[in-house]
Symmetry: C2
DNA sequence: ACCAGGAACCATGCAATGCAAGATACTGCC
DNA sequence: GGCAGTATCTTGCATTGCATGGTTCCTGGT
């Protein structure tokens, strides 16, 4: 029940977080906590470890990312996630569907009756 | 199954459909099948009775809408749904949260590293 | 009167996904 | 050895869209 980004934002994240993560990995491999940090940079996308790790596992299981364990300069080893060709394609598919969806919601919010364009 | 608006759009709808319905009711009460038709006008929002009726039941249970049974000129009676003050407030809350969320996704899709503004 | 068909509504069971809470493991410092 | 900090992962749960099927009511043909 956090007020600022509460129930609404939580439901909004469904099905989008996955692609934000893929987008974050577009340029270079990153590890879990790093992704968490970059997501938090945009407050509405802030999420937790309990969300990100199952999500990353699923992405790996479905072949969207490859993983590689690397030693950390200080701490336990980090698992780095890198986009595969399949992951790139999935991201592209989302990038195509998103504007349609976004404009649809904008449409309903601003002009529900659609008559007085 | 529908490929064009398949798994991606389906997940995108989660948590948004509810508010699109509230937006549709903003100006005047409407009944189930009518909402289904207006949603379908924007293809990515197309959904089914199995989605809309449980959703409308929930909106009623939570006090976002009031219902009124009216006779139909031809067919069984129609249950009309009208926005309550609570529903109007929920819609306003969503209308406030949506632009933040929308811009966040746009940000990740277009500039995942966010450094070269 | 009777039956076929369609319009409208609703309930049940399932799948996908985000989340809170907790468990495990590795490193460095004292 | 013990403690703190970083990082990964698992389990159980709540929410929500969806497919399927069933019920009620009206209309039209015979």
């Amino acid at each position: 029940m956090n007020e600022a980004g509460g129930r609404v934002s939580s439901q909004l994240r469904k099905g989008v977080l996955e692609y934000c993560v893929l987008a974050l990995l577009r340029d270079e491999p990153k590890y879990g906590v790093e992704l968490l940090t970059e997501l938090s940079a945009v407050s509405v996308m802030t999420t937790s470890q309990g969300t990100i790790y199952p999500l990353l596992s699923r992405l790996r299981r479905e072949g969207f990312v490859d993983t590689e364990l690397r030693e950390s300069p200080s701490g336990p080893p980090r698992r780095y996630y890198a986009l595969t060709a399949l992951g790139t394609a999935a991201l592209a598919e989302f990038a195509g569907a998103w504007p349609l969806f976004r404009d649809a919601v904008d449409h309903f919010l601003t002009d529900p009756q659609g008559d007085t364009a």
